[in-house]
């Protein structure tokens, strides 16, 4: 079992919070695999975007420990902190509106 931290937030203006989850990290499981695990087994309210699962659509961007990555192409690790892209308007949790880039980088702890 590993512990991962996800930044949950109900929408723009709402109070963000970091929530920790225990997940079984299978061999080379991706960040997206971890999000699926949490959604299917722990909390169905987790919001995140995915489509192709093969690095093509560029829709599954999140920040892992502060760095923007494709969740379907990135290997998960114990202790990782997953948040939404910080330079776009937030929809909810890890989903952002890619048509609405924020003018200046908001100072926050999206990780």
């Amino acid at each position: 079992m590993a512990t991962v931290h996800i930044r949950r937030c109900d929408g723009p203006g709402a109070e963000p919070r970091w929530v920790s989850y225990e997940v079984p990290l299978e061999d080379r499981m991706t960040v997206l695999g971890v999000l699926d695990y949490i959604y299917e087994n722990v909390d169905t309210s987790l919001a995140y975007y995915q489509s192709c699962r093969m690095g093509r659509c560029a829709g599954c961007f999140v920040q892992v420990n502060g760095k923007g990555v494709l969740s379907c192409e990135t290997t998960a690790f114990d202790g990782m902190r997953v948040g939404p892209l910080e330079n776009y308007e937030l929809v909810r949790d890890l989903v952002v509106d890619l048509n609405k880039p924020l003018k200046k980088r908001a100072s926050n702890d999206r990780g």
Partner: protein, 566 residues
């Protein structure tokens, strides 16, 4: 929301159709919807891509190395041979005729062309090489030129078609995922471009969104379907890394052994000479038969066998350009000297909604374009012909839509036309108890993998149909357990499960009727093709009593017939 043409599905077929409407009628307004994001959803993006045109056009329009011996008729012939003679040849004529123009257009709009290739089944080099991402780049550039005449609505899950008193499709209902509010569209025409229903299966090369929604909503209002039994599978797909599917398996090409639970190289049973180098069909049948006959492994998906690299010296893996090109270093290292799971994955729907040469369906006001349609590919699709089809369909259906728009006033809908459909959207969210949509989705996928997959027989299909009746009853009672309104995945799944079940039932019932094997459809109780009785297509519809019924009719043959020995 009022619009002239509502397009459901924003990718290859949908985006191309929007362009075509705008070009054909300078006043028409289009709303382009996707349950995901524009150019970030659907199968088009993930395509390889080869895009077929006849080889003479490869030279004349693209200046690439084609072969002038090829004609549109030769191209048609190859399509029909691959489709095992049950293609609708009138539709194939439309395809080969329009292909060069529409493919060239997308290139002119910004799709990068990287060369030409000759894929299996083609006598001449016809595959214009590019990528799905490039196709969508070209289409997006062009869509943008029409400014606010095309409204793109993302995160909009269309749930049902709205029909007026005259039986004319006049709009649709949807859930806006960003707000959690239902939306009612009023439109003169609805154009379905929702792609195949690949996610009905436990493993697929295709993306998340493809849950057969277009199939489900069209079926509910009485749309006709054809050839639903013909589903294309990739042979020995890998999970690399977990939760991710690979559409190619170079390990199989470069010496991996396929093993069953008894440790046997089971392909000896199916093709003792070529073994793992056998044809795609044989490999798929071999793998799935091992699973069904109890010699593979079963799991909560569709089961698997192993592909073993244990006997392969590392150097062979290191020296294989294909393996190196397709996989990341850490994956390659992790499989050296090991055996990993291997299984068939759903790749393409050859069948779908019946369309005519203008992309009209049997329902007035409803057009269909792209992979959601059937008819062109017959029992199997030639590589590169899917992207060609979506571009041709998009171009043609847009012109038809523009004509319909010019001849119809904006429909007047009353609450009675859509009230029930809106209620159907809200019901699972408001329900506090009921089956879980996630569990139901998994049950459907597992059933699809084991009983309506690569290997079929009457027993398996009957069992699947019976179980689907229970599943449909449960789907009507699903509950969403979390109460978030915005971007609620569980709610999305709750609205998808009925469509998944209906789509799978269409495949199972059509497969049960076709008592022979042909192309992608393999019946182990009827392992041979039967040209004397089965140069036919299946047609499926909901009858007056609400039952799903399948009939057959002779295939439309205009040019190519099977030779005696076929």
């Amino acid at each position: 929301m009022v619009t002239d043409v509502l397009v459901v599905g924003s990718e290859g077929a949908g985006a191309r159709a929007a362009i075509s409407v705008c070009e054909a009628d300078p006043r028409a307004r289009v709303t382009l919807t996707t349950k995901g994001r524009f150019t970030k959803s659907g199968a088009t993006l993930t395509a390889g891509t080869d895009i077929d045109v006849d080889s003479t056009s490869v030279i004349e329009l693209f200046g690439l190395e084609g072969d002038r011996r090829d004609t549109k008729d030769t191209f048609l012939e190859d399509i029909v041979v691959e489709g095992r003679y049950v293609n609708n040849q009138k539709l194939v004529e439309v395809l080969v005729e329009n292909a060069p123009r529409v493919v060239k257009e997308v290139a002119d709009w910004g799709m990068k062309v990287m060369g030409v290739a000759r894929a299996a089944g083609h006598r001449y080099p016809r595959g214009i090489l590019s990528t799905g991402v490039e196709v969508m780049k070209g289409l997006r550039n062009k869509v943008r030129q029409f400014g606010d005449r095309v409204t793109v609505m993302e995160d909009t899950l269309v749930t049902d078609l709205v029909v007026d008193d005259a039986g004319h499709v006049s709009g649709a209902t949807a859930l806006d995922l960003r707000t959690g509010e239902p939306v009612v569209f009023v439109s003169k025409v609805v154009l379905l471009a929702t792609g195949g229903g690949l996610r009905v299966y436990p493993w697929t090369s295709g993306p998340e969104e493809l849950t057969g929604d277009g199939h489900g909503m069209a079926y509910r209002i009485g749309t006709r379907f054809t050839d639903m039994e013909f589903v294309q599978f990739l042979t020995c797909t890998l999970e690399a890394p977990p939760s991710k599917v690979r559409s190619v398996n170079p390990f199989q090409l470069y010496g991996g052994w396929l093993l069953n639970r008894e440790g046997q190289r089971f392909m000896a049973r199916w093709d003792p000479v070529r073994m793992e180098q056998s044809t795609r069909d044989n490999l798929a049948i071999g793998i799935m038969s091992e699973i069904l006959e109890g010699r593979g492994w079963t799991d909560d998906k569709g089961g698997y066998v192993l592909i073993s690299m244990k006997h392969l010296p590392d150097q062979i893996i290191d020296d294989s350009p294909a393996i190196q090109a397709w996989f990341k270093k850490d994956f390659i290292e992790s499989v050296k000297g090991k055996a990993v799971k291997c299984f068939p994955a759903c790749h393409f729907y050859c069948g779908g909604i019946v369309k005519n040469e203008r992309c009209e369906t049997n329902i007035p006001g409803l057009l269909a374009a792209g992979e959601v349609c059937g008819g062109v590919h017959g029992a199997n699709r030639l590589s590169g012909n899917a992207v060609t089809e979506i571009l041709v369909d998009g171009a043609i259906s847009g012109v038809t839509a523009a004509e319909l728009v010019a001849n119809r006033d904006t429909p007047r809908l009353g609450k009675s036309h859509y009230e029930g459909l809106v209620e159907k959207i809200l019901a699972p969210f408001n329900r506090k108890e009921g089956p879980s949509p996630i569990q139901l989705r998994k049950r459907i996928q597992k059933l699809a993998g084991y009983k309506v997959g690569v290997v079929r027989d009457a027993d398996l299909l009957r069992q699947a149909i019976a179980e689907l009746q229970d599943i449909k009853a449960e789907a009507a009672a699903v509950a969403v357990y979390n109460s978030q309104k915005v971007y609620n995945r569980e709610w999305v799944e709750a609205l998808q499960v009925e469509n998944m079940a209906l789509t799978l039932e269409m495949i199972a019932r059509s497969a049960l009727v076709r008592q022979e094997s042909r192309g992608t459809h393999y019946r182990r109780d009827f392992p041979k093709s039967d040209n004397s009785n089965w140069l036919k297509n299946t047609f499926l519809i909901k009858n007056e009593e609400g039952d799903m019924v399948v009939t057959t009719a002779p295939s439309v043959i205009t040019k190519v017939r099977p030779k005696e020995e076929d």
